[in-house]
Amino acid sequence: MGDKAEVVLFWVFAGPLIASAAGVLMARNPVHAAMSLVAAFFCLAGIYVLLTAHLIAFLQIIVYAGAIMVLFLFVIMLLSLSDEELGVDRMSAMKWAGLAGGAALLFLVVQAIAESGGAGWQRVGADYGTVRAVGRILYTQYLLPFEATSVLLLVAIVGAVVVSKKRI
């Protein structure tokens, strides 16, 4: 892939990504916020493909844009909150403090990134980021965390059922 095409693709994904991430905060209706978040996840998957992370890109679409967002939409519809209850933001002092804090953090991090200079990219083999390569590292070097993840998911299932039961 040419250098220019990659820069164009980066901006094709990065622009809508930032726009839809901001849309999550701007949306009055939580369903619109959820759909905006789905769009953000799809754009992020495109960015992951640019970073040669094919497996993670597909997991992003299947797990995030698929499973997690369906869960969010179900809960939004289950609660069926009225619009004005959702539209109101927190008191304005908190709002301005939050925005100022976010801007300050962004300034610090971007400054640190600019100072780091950004070393070049390493060359990687053809199987970098494929299911075979990532699967091999998951089942050898990261075997214990991988098994711990399965226990974590089991605990999450049991916890979700127990917490959302009628009588706690």
Binding site: A53, Y64, G101, Y142
Partner: protein
């Protein structure tokens, strides 16, 4: 290729948007969505550094982050439903049962 700084800056912007959402929004569901945005920003940074240094450990970490996010969403949304059942609201500044004795 696109310089690695661009990816890192994109991750920083995404994280900041998520942080602003957590601080500013009242609705607990939107706060949760903002947390998901912050987790994704961390993932993007992991993958950018993994690609930069040419090893795959960042991909394994990103995989674990996705699994933990799924577990966190399931438990968190169950808690939101339980709070809505007992209080009739999901506004994060109206649930003060632990603060007010």
């Amino acid at each position: 290729m696109v310089p690695v700084n661009y990816y890192l800056a994109l991750g920083a912007v995404l994280f900041t948007i998520g942080l602003a959402g957590v601080l500013v929004k009242r609705n607990a569901i939107i706060v949760f969505m903002s947390i998901e945005l912050m987790l994704n920003a961390a993932n993007l940074t992991f993958l950018a550094f993994a690609r930069q240094s040419g090893n795959l450990s960042g991909h394994a970490i990103a995989f674990f982050v996705i699994a933990v996010a799924a577990a966190e969403a399931a438990v968190g949304l169950a808690i939101i439903i339980a709070i809505y059942r007992s209080r009739g609201t999901v506004a994060v500044d109206e649930v003060t049962g632990l603060r007010d004795p």
